[in-house]
């Protein structure tokens, strides 16, 4: 094991896959010359050449569209969108082309595409640079959706995403960029569709994603001090979703709290709630609870941003309300 940051994990995964497979190519705004807006592709242009590593103009629809056309004709592209919010500019190619092409064309092709983007709040970047959009993409058949929380997960899941023969949206959480943790040395990958139980427990299941995993773990510490044993599950990929692990945990703990950065109404949280009532209704000793961002955009003011992001204290309260 070695200790690296979340962004270093991205870099290593990209680099190893580009070394392994000459069909892997990467492009985005400032990817080549500047080594990436978030410095995740440093020196890539030198190592792999500007044929395989490219700076694109600022035009997100073509950034994704290039990947669709290239994947149809034999490459394994990685497209960088910088901020997830910029999916707005790329949405036609994402929703009407990339997600649907294999299906519409009766399975004639595969589309081994990875689209990477930084999502999430906590950096005072305001409404247009803080969104979490995974609920949308879970509701768009044809895409896999990956939401890693730790450096080790980032590396293992990004390698699997690149190798996957389907389009994958890979969300890197901005507030976690500088987190450092142990990552296995040498070749390894983590399959898509396998949740990780980040903490074992018996009294309540907390399902949390990305930044919220850390807040859930903090909450679990506090709860432990109060004699409540919380199990924290990080789904790691939302499509495919490891329904078994989640359902089994709920059957064991008989209580569920879901915490995510999606806005509450029609957020990804609901999928876990619906799963619980669909597959474990009779096991539930209390109503499942969802925590998320209230239905407003993010403001730039730290006071306002912090106020609407779920905090560990709220997770603790939610758990205690259903374990009375």
């Amino acid at each position: 094991m070695k200790r690296i940051s979340y962004t270093q994990a991205v870099t290593e995964a990209l680099q190893e896959e580009m070394r392994r497979d000459p069909k892997v190519v990467i492009w985005g705004e400032d990817t080549a010359g500047a080594g990436g807006a978030f410095h995740m592709t440093p020196g890539f242009a030198d190592e792999f050449g500007t044929n395989r590593v490219r700076d694109t103009p600022i035009a997100e629809n073509i950034i994704v569209g290039l990947a669709v056309g290239a994947a149809m004709t034999g490459l394994r592209p990685i497209a960088e969108l910088m901020f997830a919010d910029f999916f707005g500019c790329a949405m036609d190619q994402v929703m009407n082309q990339m997600a649907k092409a294999r299906y519409m064309f009766g399975g004639q092709i595969t589309l081994p595409i990875t689209v990477r983007a930084a999502s999430g709040a906590g950096t005072r970047a305001a409404a247009q640079h803080s969104q979490s959009l995974h609920s949308w993409f879970m509701n768009l058949p044809g895409l896999k959706v990956v939401v890693p929380s730790t450096p080790a997960d980032v590396k293992g899941l990004l390698k699997s995403s690149i190798r996957d023969n389907n389009p994958v949206l890979f969300f890197e959480h901005k507030a976690l960029f500088n987190i450092k943790d142990q990552v296995p040395v040498g070749e390894y990958s983590i399959p898509l569709g396998v949740a990780d139980v980040k903490r074992q427990g018996t009294d309540v299941t907390i399902v949390a994603v990305q930044q919220m995993v850390y807040r859930a773990l903090e909450a679990a510490e506090i709860l432990a001090e109060r004699g409540i044993s919380a199990e924290v599950i990080d789904p790691r990929t939302l499509v495919p979703l490891d329904r078994e692990t989640i359902v089994n945990s709920i059957k064991k703990t008989r209580r569920l709290v879901v915490v995510d950065e999606c806005n509450l109404t029609s957020g990804a949280q609901n999928e876990i709630i619906a799963l619980a009532v669909e597959r474990a209704f009779d096991y539930l000793d209390a109503p499942p609870r969802r925590l998320g961002v209230p239905d407003v955009p993010f403001a730039q003011s730290p006071v306002l941003e912090d106020y609407i992001l779920p905090k560990s204290g709220q997770i603790v309260s939610a758990v205690q309300e259903i374990i009375r």
């Binding site: 044929n51 149809m72 190619q93 519409m104 009766g106």
Partner: protein, 330 residues
């Protein structure tokens, strides 16, 4: 557009067999689409379908300039491109009818027909949706250095989409091997292109990207063949993209069954006087390059081929309902 009919000379710079192939291809497209219209109006084709009758010269002229390893992207009005690039009638009809023997197993229909084995990267139901994809395929050819060229078809209407601009800028910047073929049939749905674009000569948009732009008579298969051959050679030679605006006309409405009330009879009849098939046929017959008998035999064969293809499609089964769950993820 000049509405005066003139008998064309056989053009010496294009080989006779190619001229005949152009005629044959246009006839194949025309007959296919006439049959598709009939089938649609008899409720044999579900959903939407759009025919390109009148515009066949563009599909034929461009696709016959391409090599086998080359690619095209097409549009909602894409039957002609598909057929000219070599797709076969039986599975085309089957796809239009939503049958399991169709190219896309009944999932695509007219607006999403594709044959990747022949380099047809798909029709597209999104106006402008294929332009970035074509550009990506050209980037792929450049990266893989495999000598392929992409022909990207789109309508006059599509040129207003942001996707057009983003694509041409990148293709020109990187000198990608792609040719952009605007089929200007004067209308996007029912609105004249001059009420959708701020300049009357759309080929001039090439100036914004520093690439050649050329306005071509879209009713003249030879002119298109000539322009496309040159543009493709340029693309294959690493000199980058070209924008061809082929000025043409669709004889029928926007979709099959649409009367397109906004056009005058005069406008339509005028265009028909310049019918791309009639003209090339007359020229080839007049010059002796083709005999009446050869043509009659070809048309007979074509008729039979269509009849067989329709029979194949009609006799094909619908997809298994459960196949709805196939073909999404690998």
């Amino acid at each position: 557009m000049n509405a005066q009919p003139t008998v064309q000379e056989v053009t010496p710079d294009i080989r006779k067999d190619i001229q005949i192939a152009l005629l044959h291809t246009m006839l194949r497209v025309r007959k296919f689409e006439e049959k598709a219209q009939e089938l649609f109006l008899n409720n044999k084709i579900p959903g939407f379908a759009h025919v390109s009758i009148g515009q066949e010269a563009v599909a034929a002229g461009v696709c016959l300039s391409l090599s086998e390893g080359d690619y095209i992207t097409s549009t909602h009005r894409g039957h002609g491109h598909c057929i000219a690039k070599g797709m076969e009638f039986p599975r085309m009809f089957a796809e239009l009818m939503g049958k399991r023997t169709g190219y896309c197993r009944g999932k695509g229909g007219s607006m999403h027909v594709a044959d990747f084995s022949r380099g047809v990267l798909g029709a597209n139901g999104i106006v402008g949706g294929g332009i970035p994809i074509a550009t990506g395929a050209a980037l792929s050819a450049q990266i893989q250095k495999n000598d392929s060229v992409v022909a990207c078809f789109f309508g006059d209407g599509a040129m207003a989409q942001g996707a057009f601009h983003e694509s041409l800028n990148v293709a020109a910047l990187w000198k990608l091997p792609v040719i952009y073929v605007c089929e200007n049939n004067l209308y996007g749905e029912w609105t004249h292109y001059t009420r959708q674009h701020s300049i009357p000569d759309l080929s001039q948009r090439a100036l914004a990207y520093g690439i050649p732009g050329q306005r071509v008579d879209g009713m003249d298969a030879l002119a298109i063949y000539r322009a496309a051959t040159q543009a493709i050679a340029r693309a294959r030679g690493g000199e980058g993209p070209t924008l061809l605006e082929c000025v043409t006309f669709r004889y029928f409405g926007h979709y099959i069954g649409d009367p397109h009330p906004g056009r005058t009879d005069h406008e339509i009849e005028n265009a028909k006087l310049r019918d791309p098939i009639d003209h090339l046929r007359q020229a080839l017959l007049a010059s002796g390059a083709l005999t009446d008998r050869e043509l009659a035999l070809f048309e007979l064969g074509l008729g039979n081929e269509i009849a067989d293809a329709v029979a194949f499609a009609e006799q094909s089964d619908d997809p298994e309902p459960e196949s709805a769950f196939e073909d999404l993820f690998v």
